[in-house]
């Protein structure tokens, strides 16, 4: 029986001949079938994955060919894979097939990864519960009455419930870290520009970043190493050389300087037990002679409004291309003229949350409101960036909860603003473009997992992954 722990162990097993890529693919496709009710996948590329696995097994000659040789990967359905459908979990992309590979996918394939299927998510990555998919909600495998988080809910559950080895999501305001938190897996959002966005369906361009779900830091680091780096197709991506993240992982006994925000931990929305457990954990850090200091963060109350002003503005424009003219859904039945066609197409095929954000975005960009909303929000964003830079002069990492609560029940948040406010701890990293990771260190007495969120300065993924490795090992050892 196939059993997965880490990519390294899997590669060793391949070398020992105790397993094959075909075994792995068979295991995962069966696992997906067995757990179809979780609704984590919109499509499984079973035959293709098997054929690819067979080819990898045959060509191997007793060695491992690529860094991700035979690694079974699932893609959030906002990442383009040539010749395959991509829908952003929206009806507006009805029957749309991508004619090119996202840069990240190109890099995965070049290192021998096997793409097993596309994951359900919130429509256009807009949501915190995966309830906004046009193809139904995803269920949390830890408790099927609970949401898996969003927007990359399907990708989180795919790793949580053993339906792939690693998965790619996208994180615009917490869409990788929060579902990782709700599902008890590792979720990394690299710094903005670390991974090319080419082929990632845009929600809010200056916030979007592909993120990685995995069972452990080694796998996440290795996957990051493969998909990160300069790309001539994305002018916003970092041109810095990509560190060998997987090689640089050390469990050395370095003393770090942590800080946490007073306003974050005193926030009324934060679940008391989450707060307590994290505070206890911080005590173990000081016991281990790391420094942990409390700092004031006066701007906390502004970050959710600023985030929603800026992301909806960008989204309203990014989603204009879905107009029924060139691809995807088009209403022809009762459209008398062009204007009707636009209105009917977009009204029918976009979901409620997407329409809400398009309307909000158009509002904040419109003449007469632009300065009061968009310009002001940009100023606050710049202020946040400056303050954060200063903070990292004194500290290595910021500690935050990932979410104020553990996974909630379906339909729990009826008020959209209430749902927005639950993003309070995750949107910060996207606003300032820094890397952040959600580490599944805790279990709530309600039996749901929850995470510690660590944030590092821009370009500090190496130290972020190292300390994460350290903390997860300590937990295992305890």
């Amino acid at each position: 029986m196939f059993r997965f722990t880490t990519i390294k162990d899997y590669h060793n097993a391949l070398l020992n001949g105790t397993t094959t890529c075909v075994d792995a693919v068979r295991f995962y496709t069966q696992s997906i079938k067995d757990q179809q009710h979780l609704n984590a996948f919109l499509e499984v590329f079973e035959e293709e994955a098997l054929a690819q696995a067979l080819a990898l097994d045959n060509q191997r000659n007793g060695s491992i060919q690529g860094k991700l040789h035979g690694v079974v990967v699932a893609l959030k359905d906002v990442i383009c894979y040539k010749g395959h459908k991509v829908s952003a979990a929206s009806r507006i992309l009805d029957n749309f097939t991508s004619i090119y590979n996202a840069t990240a996918v190109e890099k995965l394939l070049a290192e021998g990864a096997i793409i097993i299927g596309r994951n359900n998510c919130d429509e256009f990555a807009m949501g915190s519960s995966n309830e906004n998919s046009a193809f139904g909600a995803v269920k949390n495998a830890a408790d099927e009455t609970k949401v898996p988080g969003g927007s990359s809910g399907g990708s989180a559950v795919a790793v949580q419930a053993n339906m792939c080895m690693v998965s790619l999501g996208s994180d615009t305001g917490g869409s990788v870290r929060q579902p990782a938190d709700f599902c008890g897996v590792v979720g990394l959002k690299p710094g903005y520009g670390r991974i090319s966005r080419y082929g990632l369906i845009a929600y809010a361009s200056s916030f979007d970043q592909i993120g990685i779900f995995g069972n452990n830091i080694e796998d996440v680091a290795l996957t990051l190493e493969v998909i990160a780096g300069a790309d001539e197709y994305d002018s916003t991506v970092s041109t810095d050389a990509v560190p060998e993240f997987s090689e640089l992982l050390k469990t050395e006994d370095k003393k770090y300087r942590f800080c946490y925000f007073r306003q974050a931990f005193e926030n009324a929305s934060l679940d008391v037990e989450i707060r307590t457990q994290i505070e206890v954990f911080m005590k173990t850090l000081t016991d281990a002679e790391h420094s942990v200091e409390i700092v004031d963060f006066e701007l906390l109350d502004f970050i959710v409004p600023v985030y929603y002003v800026l992301t909806t503005a960008e989204a309203s424009s990014n989603l204009s291309r879905y107009d029924g003219v060139r691809f995807g859904y088009r209403n022809t039945a009762n459209s008398a003229d062009l204007s009707d066609m636009y209105t009917n197409t977009r009204s029918e095929a976009f979901g409620k949350e997407v329409k809400r954000r398009i309307m909000l975005g158009n509002f904040v960009l419109s003449a007469g409101y632009f300065d009061a909303y968009f310009t002001k929000a940009q100023q606050v964003r710049q202020l946040l960036i400056n303050q954060t830079d200063q903070l990292f002069n004194n500290y290595d990492f910021i500690i935050l909860p990932t979410s104020p609560t553990t996974a909630f029940s379906f339909g729990a948040h009826k008020d959209p603003v209430e749902m927005f406010l639950a993003d309070i701890y995750t949107v910060y990293a996207n606003l300032v473009g820094i890397p952040a990771i959600s580490l599944p260190l805790f279990r709530h007495q309600n039996n749901m997992p929850f995470s510690l969120q660590l944030l590092a300065s821009r370009d500090s993924e190496v130290s972020l992954l190292c300390v994460s490795q350290n903390l997860l090992h300590q937990k295992r050892d305890r």
Binding site: V78, I79, C80, V86, A88, L93, F96, S98, I99, Y100, A102, R197, Y198, G199, L200, I201, A202, A204, S205, S206, E232, Y233, D234, S235, T236, A313, E314, S316, S317, L319, S320, R321, D323, V325, R326, F327, L338, Y342, N362, L365, S366, A367, F370, F374
Partner: protein, 481 residues
């Protein structure tokens, strides 16, 4: 009542120039003209989900070139903005353009109107991408969309409202067209749509300080149409003002069949474009060194060359302006003059017979089979009295061009050497005079102007070879005997 005396027009022009880059502004798709519809479109031009723009450095360089040539100041920090509106030939649902900060600020363009030089003041030059084309007249039911042009690099050159007549406007557009060609910034071909013009026109009573309500006339795709549209608008708005009618702010279009304009939409219906900085394109910085390097690589500008031709070569403003209308002609002039060292004569040859040949053949100096050395040889033959100007320009020049043979060979082959031999000239003169004895009598009675007729006849008989100066002398002598 002559309304031109009472009213004054204030005009600002926006010229869209398609840059001569091989690929589009934000992707590698080609920019060839006249290709089959939708063959120059990749997933990026089609705005497929997940695609991103990347800036064409050549387009940035060409915009800077144009800015430097127009004495604009070049922005150090640049970014693109999105102009949001829905139209089927706009694949992304927004046009990537520049908004608050253009790549080139201000500037001037020197023009010549009725022999007088003027300066047109620029507001800005900015970079943007073109839309595709909507075709409404091919299919009965559907509008067709061709996205070959979508994403092509443009610069938009915007003047201040400082133009007052259609002559000035046409001179300005002609000058801009010359400049973009001179700098290899664009083909500047209005017929192919790679230079397009919109005019903002208002009219006010003379002496008034405040601008009148403006109308914008779109898609003026030739110099002729620009002139007709402006003249029509000035007279339309002047008579409205005369009749105390209220002018409304409108976007209008020119109808080249009737030479009139018609309203497309009122200002109230205008879009709110919701401009904001494009987050998909990293801002770019143009360093002093970058700008300086471009500046150094630029050719001598037409206005600089014009001044040099006036000062160093003693050409008149008119001749110097004519010679600098086209870079290749200017180059040709300089090459010929290097050999001939007679600027006035070379300018006369080029502005006269050579341009005549270009017009007749509908080609450019580059395509004309005439080397500077051949023209120089021909001019020198005329100066040396070997061939008459009239034979040289009307016979030798076209034959040189047609055959590619040197002028002296043509002259020999066709026996066009100027005849100065008195006996031969007298022979032709006698034949001529014998042909029209009445005229000779009239001349002798005092109608001295008839001498031209006799000279002309001799020229004809000699097929242009007769030395006109000698013919004149001999004729006068003979007739006054």
């Amino acid at each position: 009542m002559n309304s031109n005396l009472e009213f004054e027009a204030v005009i600002g022009l926006e010229i869209h120039v398609q840059l001569s880059t091989e690929s589009k502004l934000f992707c590698g798709d080609r920019t060839l003209f006249g290709e089959p519809a939708n063959t120059q479109v990749s997933s990026i031009s089609l705005a497929h989900p997940g695609t991103l723009p990347r800036t064409n450095n050549k387009a940035v360089e060409l915009a800077v070139r144009m800015g430097l040539a127009c004495h604009s100041s070049i922005s150090e920090k640049n970014f693109f903005a999105r102009k949001n509106y829905f139209y089927p030939d706009l694949p992304k649902g927004y046009q990537v353009s520049q908004h608050t900060i253009p790549i080139c600020n201000g500037g001037t363009v020197r023009i010549m109107v009725n022999g007088i030089e003027k300066e047109v003041i620029l507001n800005r030059i900015h970079l943007e991408e073109d839309a595709g084309k909507s075709i409404h007249d091919v299919d009965e039911t559907f509008s067709l969309i061709d996205l070959n042009r979508a994403g092509t690099a443009l610069i938009e050159i915007v003047t201040e409202p400082c133009i007052h007549t259609s002559e000035e406007a046409c001179a300005y557009v002609t000058t801009v067209r010359k400049l973009v060609r001179w700098l290899n910034v664009s083909d500047g071909d209005m017929e192919k749509g790679n230079l397009r013009c919109d005019a903002n026109i208002s009219v006010r009573r003379k002496g008034e300080k405040q601008l009148g309500t403006k109308v914008e006339v779109k898609n003026l795709n030739s110099i002729r149409n620009l002139r007709k549209a402006i003249d029509f608008e000035i007279s339309r708005m002047s008579s409205m003002l005369e009749n105390d009618e209220k002018i409304i702010q409108q976007t209008r279009s020119f109808d080249a069949v009737t030479d009139t304009t018609f309203a497309l939409r009122d200002k109230e219906e205008a879009n709110d474009y919701r401009y904001f900085p494009d987050p998909d394109i990293a801002p770019f910085v143009l360093s002093g060194k970058y700008i300086n390097d471009i500046s150094i690589s630029m050719p001598e500008l037409p206005e600089q060359l014009q001044s040099r031709l006036q000062q160093d070569h003693g050409l008149s403003l008119y001749d110097a302006h004519q010679i600098t209308e086209d870079k290749d002609i200017a180059r040709f002039f300089l090459d010929v003059n290097d050999i001939v060292s007679n600027p006035k004569s070379v300018a006369n040859w080029i502005n006269g017979p050579v341009k005549q040949q270009l017009n007749d053949r509908g080609c450019s100096i580059e395509d004309l089979k005439l080397s500077p050395s051949d023209l120089a040889a021909l001019i020198l033959l005329v100066e040396d009295g070997k061939v008459s100007f009239s034979s040289a320009s009307s016979q030798v020049l076209p034959k040189v061009i047609n055959s590619g043979n040197p002028p002296i060979e043509i002259i020999q082959q066709y026996d066009l050497l100027k005849v100065s031999d008195e006996a031969e000239l007298i022979n032709w003169i006698n034949i001529a005079l014998n042909k029209m004895p009445e005229k000779v009598i009239e001349y002798r009675k005092g109608k001295r102007g008839l001498i031209g007729l006799f000279v002309g006849e001799v020229k004809k008989l000699s097929k242009g070879k007769a030395d006109p100066k000698l013919v004149n002398e001999i004729l006068e002598r003979k007739l006054n005997e």
